[in-house]
Symmetry: C2
Subunit: 541 residues, 2 copies
């Protein structure tokens, strides 16, 4: 039997459009010999549909879409969708046969993740029973995503005679997710002596990125097929029965990207899908001559092509000539439209109007924020006029400690580097240049000391520790949830740790108003880390 | 026996500070004769602590705080706190006796709300057992908040002999919450023939407002005590046993505020707590001469006093003279500092720098947004320099359909009217003037046609339906979750409904970057309504 994994990119909420995609994809899979087509978890709604699941007409729309698919397909499909059965809402995997108006077999997801970025207990009731059916002489069991991270659901399916598991997933990317995914699935398979075909979603959805990378493991838990990453794909799985009756799986073995490639491609996919799925004509960004905006520009061009990307340099009196030169050079290399719009006239106008109010006060960060906000307003004016979304360029290190200006450099629709710490920004810039075989990001942008250029001769390290120390402290405090004291015990200077921790805690209000951006690590700012703004928690142990 | 309800206002996360408050409050209650002091749900952490509950040192901090309380009190207290027991985290109500280092009795909340604004299944495991103990000869059962909305937990407590229930709550305000609360509690009481003392939290916490209003019901479900609303209080409950052995409760009967008073006081409390708990010196806002900023100013002054509030009028060429006049008049009446800062110079500077880029394009909302953004930048500059938080003034009707400018009038830390539709803005303005016995909000601000004054002669109704129709459609679609078709069937014009629904759906990206603001209805924008930004859901049925 040939099973085809339909590693698909769905639009959340567009049930009608996703149903059309299922129909077209099933036809394409059939054309390459599919006897069964396997779609991901909640393929009909995309993932996560969030409170769209609470809309009263959801069940009707899903029912109509399933009927439309049944009427159109000529090959059985297994796909995920939400459904209300006996007054309860479930996360369902269903088998739909050609010509039928409703699924013949339905499995209700047992294990509902309600941690980190997941809120499934807000929407679903857990299923209780295994679902196993026979197709082409093979006893097939269905499981959904989180079910594979726990032993019980697969044990239950095998107890009902499953000899092959089809797993439907919407498993979001994080840097080492592929390894934990395959380890869990291999364990399930080896525990039960039953092979598993794992179909994952692909695409960007607000802050989540689905990396695809569907795969299959044999009855011993060995990987016997690896699909491609970060792209839609139809992946053939040959299911063969030996003379002794055992099932084996065979298929292509795509390479697993290394860390840099994964991160970079996740960024590209997230930008492409945010811009296209939200119907923007293109994207624009402020190009400062610094490395954050340089990397953001490279990602944007790889996501959308140079003709849909614009770069704007907005110099001020503190902008070095080399900043202007390097920005212009990169824009030229990448082939994007480049504008230079000075902020001096607006800055001076603001300071003039505020002169009376500011009389007798000292220059402080107010004047720095004002520069950033003049730039933000300029970019938003271009965005409004052109229909291009503004990409913000703050990195995770800055977002963590509040070294970015609300309504200034934080103004925009998508925060590309929101989960990329500064040291990784360097690493990914080097990666991008290596792939190109040339410095698409100018060498000097990488080597010069980082500076926001908001005051004369300013560098980031005037007020922050070196980024390798800052990022390491953030890794402990944010990503690993160490306390301040535990971070100190891990070998950092106490005063520095307490200062950073206080900055992280105090700047939640800024992050709450930040644009969404792609989650790449095990703890991103956003729905992955839900802290109160009003917060009296004291650093310490 | 005299039980004292400690209707308390806690600071989320400040376990040490909250413990000190518990100690001081218990002493004050004892001084007025308390034999038992009852604090709200999660009093030690405040509510909701969100991901602070996941901090590794949480349990240690809670344990230390409980020990400190036990060492200091001279009267038994019942209070709420989170605790890890046998490796699981629970939402606990505990009885702590003077001189003890740890609670003698603990109840683990059974029913964990994980809907609307609640995420308790993200943090807690449900308890399984009733907790009933004897104090001063009375068999007392403990319950926590959501437990009272379902019959089973109280039935279990009564099965173990409870003859009085102490209920610890962190029940957030919404317009008719008091009535649903008392109805549920009365039902529980009458079902079991056992009286209930209901202690609620009070105070603002980001988007939640806790209204207090603690109360008690007798064994027949009749209200026999009503505490005050929107303020901290020590409320005496006399628990008496009749000769026949039945328990009766007695205490004060505070009036229950009507709808306008509730809403207005909820706004005042939320602003006061946001500003004070976050350590701002004061608050400032743009005062436009329109009704939204007029009401916001009144709320701010009632929350903080006139000396901590500043109003800024930022006129432009479309600002009517009466706007300037009315703004100045209100600022004068309310006794707040008033500045007039024109935006003409900055607007002209931006348009000058953008002239080349905009050549050949039409005037559109870009220019209107630019005005709003010049104002936002001015307010933020003053905010930065003064240490005052900016209050934003957009109402719920505008937030719903996107009639507000990101980084413009949406710039600020707290969105006071975020859950107040325009028709309610009028209603609350009239209420405020009635209470004052004078027009603290100038009469003309209430009677003139609403206008953003972003174009010559503009009024809101140039591009929106009348607010009574708009608000009614929003009530159906947002607050009641009607589909577009069901809203049409409820008697609205189809074209208008579809237009409004599309605007609501399309403007999620703006709301996602909005400041938090107090939730007053059963469906506020914020954690109460979690929609994807990237969203292909089609209006219809």
């Amino acid at each position: 039997m040939r099973v085809v994994i339909a590693q698909s990119n769905m639009l959340v909420g567009d049930i009608e459009g996703n149903a059309e995609q299922v129909i077209a994809t099933a036809a394409a899979a059939q054309a390459q010999g599919a006897e069964l087509v396997l779609f991901p978890e909640l393929a009909l709604t995309g993932y996560p549909p969030e409170d769209l699941l609470l809309r009263p007409s959801l069940n009707t729309r899903v029912r109509d879409a399933l009927a439309a698919i049944g009427a159109a397909i000529e090959v059985p499909v297994v796909l995920g969708y939400p459904a209300v059965r006996n007054g309860q809402r479930y996360n369902v995997a269903g088998l739909l046969q050609p010509g039928e108006t409703r699924p013949q077999e339905e499995y209700f997801k047992h294990c509902l993740p309600n941690f980190r970025v997941f809120d499934e207990k807000r929407y679903f009731q857990p299923g209780q029973h295994a679902t196993v059916f026979t197709l082409n002489g093979v006893r097939i069991g269905l499981l959904v995503c989180e079910d594979l991270w726990h032993p019980a659901p697969m044990v239950a399916a095998c107890a009902e005679g499953a000899e092959l598991i089809l797993a439907l997933n919407a498993s979001p990317f994080s840097d080492d997710k592929h390894e934990s995914r395959t380890a869990h699935v291999a364990a399930r398979s080896a525990e039960n002596g039953v092979p598993i075909i794992y179909a994952n979603l692909v695409g960007g959805q607000d802050e989540l990125v689905f990396d695809g990378g569907s795969f299959a493991v044999d009855a011993q838990g060995e990987c016997c097929l690896q699909g491609p990453f970060f792209e839609s794909a139809l992946i053939n799985v040959e299911v063969r029965r030996s003379e002794a009756g055992a099932l084996s799986l065979q298929g292509e073995q795509c390479p697993v990207p290394d860390l840099d490639e994964r991160l970079y491609r996740a960024l590209v996919l997230s930008v492409r899908d945010y811009v296209n799925k939200n119907g923007f004509k293109g994207a624009l960004l402020g190009l400062s001559g610094g490395i954050d905006s340089a990397l953001t520009l490279a990602v944007a061009v790889d996501a959308l092509g140079p003709e849909r990307v614009e770069a704007v340099m907005m110099p001020f009196r503190y902008t070095a000539d080399i900043s202007k030169h390097d920005a212009a050079e990169q824009a030229h290399t990448m082939g994007v439209r480049y504008r230079e719009l000075p902020i001096e006239p607006m800055f001076d106008a603001f300071m003039g109007v505020l002169a009376d109010s500011f009389q007798g006060t000292q220059v402080d960060t107010t004047e720095e924020n004002l520069q950033a906000r003049c730039r933000g307003v300029l970019l938003m004016a271009l965005s409004n006029k052109l229909g291009y979304v503004v990409l913000t360029t703050s990195n995770k290190s800055e977002m963590a400690v509040g070294y970015s200006t609300l309504y200034g450099d934080m103004a925009g629709g998508f925060a590309v580097l929101k989960d990329v710490v500064k040291t990784r920004v360097y690493q990914l810039s080097e990666y991008r240049n290596q792939v190109a075989g040339q410095d698409v990001i100018p060498r000097r942008v990488i080597t010069r000391p980082p500076s926001a250029e908001l005051a004369p001769g300013q560098t980031d390290q005037d007020s922050l520790p070196d980024y390798d120390i800052l990022d390491a402290i953030l890794h402990h405090y944010v990503e690993q949830d160490f306390s301040a004291e535990a971070t100190v015990r891990a070998g950092f200077e106490s005063e520095q740790v307490y200062r950073i921790v206080r900055l992280v805690d105090r700047n939640e209000y800024k992050r709450r108003q930040a644009a969404v951006g792609p989650r790449l690590t095990q703890r991103a700012f956003g729905k992955d880390r839900r802290y109160p703004i009003t917060n009296g928690w004291r650093p310490g142990d």
